[in-house]
Symmetry: C2
């Protein structure tokens, strides 16, 4: 397998996450991020308006992919089948960069109360995006909320298993996320 070579945008994200971990989010400047990534400040600003957006950009992409996948599911798909389509759509866009960044991002978040809050808000944003996409398909609000929360749990659990799993697993994120969703679906039978 060819070694993965990140482009300037990915290098900026990786550099930022490492610096946030090492010295804190507040103490990290755009100039430091650019230097660590081996690019100029002008290059940073070609990709992101500021360091905050660098973190938010990934979330908006992910919300869009989940919603697109749900919207594009067949008309007769059940709510959970539509969520599975959203997970598959988002997972297909997750490459080596997203896998490599997982442990580093986790360390950065663990080290910063501000990033913990931002990370929690990101989850809220993903659940809202999926709920709205399901409601737009005509799914009742309570069912849409529940299916979206299951999708979010499955995405997080699947991502953890993918990141922690063996590197020779080339199957990508999708099988992990879909297996976690199936596990949650099966769990609905034992809620009582």
């Amino acid at each position: 397998m060819a070694r993965w070579e990140p482009g300037a945008r990915d290098r900026l994200v990786l550099a930022a996450v490492d610096l946030f971990t090492e010295q804190g989010y507040d103490e990290t400047t755009v100039a430091q991020i650019a230097e660590r990534a081996g690019v100029t400040k002008s290059t940073f600003f070609r990709y992101f308006p500021d360091k905050r957006e660098l973190l938010v950009a990934g979330q908006e992409t992910l919300s869009t992919l989940l919603a697109e996948g749900i919207a594009a599911a067949p008309a007769d798909a059940s709510p959970l089948e539509a969520v599975a389509a959203g997970l598959a759509r988002a997972s297909d866009e997750m490459g080596p960069m997203n896998r490599d960044i997982g442990p580093r991002l986790r360390a950065a978040v663990a080290a910063s109360a501000e990033l913990q809050g931002r990370d929690a808000l990101k989850s809220v944003g993903l659940a809202v995006a999926m709920t709205d996409a399901l409601v737009a398909r005509g799914v009742r609000a309570a069912t849409a909320h529940l299916a979206a929360e299951m999708g979010l749990l499955a995405f997080k659990q699947g991502y953890s298993r993918w990141v922690e799993g063996p590197r020779d697993d080339d199957a990508g994120l999708a099988p992990h996320a879909l297996a976690a969703l199936e596990d949650l679906r099966a769990a609905t039978a034992s809620l009582g």
Copy 2:
């Protein structure tokens, strides 16, 4: 009905939430909160170590109540019946103060990115507390996660309906939270 008279602790919380909304969390000092509440700074410090803890204290109480209710449910209670017991236990401690603070707290959170992150983290904390309490009862992890997320959704939806409902409704938060949980339970049948 006798008019509700908040004590010093509740007055401090209400004053803080109003000041956070008016001028921002960062700009608000302990001295200002104490003055608005009509108490001395020493009184503030008798209840809270700092302004951050003032916001966090309520969450820890709520987590404890939810977990206690789940732990105290009958041994043969199903996972969702245990969650319902947790919601009932926590709801019983919610009085006029908690109802009055709802709209103000929402305004304060809407006005501050830091408080939005903190609020989202609070939800994560409540879900973790319920998940752990269910796992301690022997509930399988996937079922515990799912039941805890349903409990969290039900608590939030029930709280919204209680806060927005007519003031002559003396039944408290519990019926609203339990109705929302039942609605989510019914929704599991239409997930597909």
